[in-house]
Amino acid sequence: MKKVFIISRIFNRAVMKAVWPIWLGYLPLGFAGGVLAQKVGLTPWETGVMSLLVFAGSGQFIALAMMGGGTASITSIVMTTFIVNLRHLLYSSTLATYLMEKSKKYLGVFAQGITDETFAVNLNKFTAAEADWDADKALGVNVLAHACWIFSNVLGNITGNILVIDMAVVSYTLTAMFIGLWSFHFGHKLLIIIGIFSGVLALLLSSVLDHKLHIVVATLLAATAGCLVESWCVKK
């Protein structure tokens, strides 16, 4: 009985409603990743294991491209993956406030499911006015998103390039999702200004910082600026 209870806390209608936009993006994106993996010479099994253990969209794409290039060493592939994934430090730290009383095992499973997309969806739910979100539902989103990622990667690897996918349209699904989620955070003016500021910073930094590090640095700077402006306004 206890087991059924737990499963329904993790997978339920609210979770499905939250996870579908991620599926919409991950299905074609993972499919494309699987096709790429096949071209580089990975078997469906290897692709599945890679998607299970690594679960990093851009990290995987970059790694596959480097494998395909033939010149990259294993060290440089691993280092690049590490740097690309550093932004998860930020996401994981932010979500940690909602996972305070959870066991180590729980955190261990939860952590593997943290991506740009699951972070975005879960954070929005955690901070929403309805306050109907909890760690179990967030875990459900992580696990279902991850399952979809593995499924679509393996499928892409097996079928190869039988479907012609318009990658520009596909990757736009997730952009549209981010824009929507962003706009839900426009609680007061300063939040909007800081968001735009962070965006401009990211663009400026993108020419000097590689591998998505500009996202991390822009966020750190912009959030600090937000705090400073806030305390300055309060003092006045």
Binding site: G59, Y91, S92, S93, A111, T127, I179, S183, F186, I215
Partner: protein, 95 residues
């Protein structure tokens, strides 16, 4: 690869569970979501194949303005995504 993908994800909750979060950090965390989204969205809209593209022919930009409008007006993620995909596809193919 597995390890370098996992470590950044798993370390923070373990470390943060041990220490108490100061009010300043809490205030700081308030500005993280909008900053992350701003950085992600701007990068995805304006960076094309590693270069900045501010031109009006940037389909991303036009579609995104529409998405933003729909998102702010309706507060619906589903509508935002559908409008975004439709407008992106139309703009890309017919303009």
């Amino acid at each position: 690869m597995c390890l370098v993908s996992y470590l950044p994800r798993v370390m923070p909750p373990f470390i943060l569970a041990k220490i108490k979060i100061s009010p300043f950090v809490e205030r700081w965390l308030q500005y993280v979501p909008t900053s992350v989204f701003g950085a992600l969205v701007f990068s995805e809209i304006f960076i094309k194949e590693g270069r900045l593209d501010f031109s009006l022919s940037n389909v991303n930009l036009l579609a995104s303005l529409l998405v933003l409008l729909v998102a702010v007006k309706t507060h619906s993620l589903a509508k935002s995504i559908v409008v975004g995909l439709a407008s992106f596809w139309l703009l890309q193919n017919f303009i």
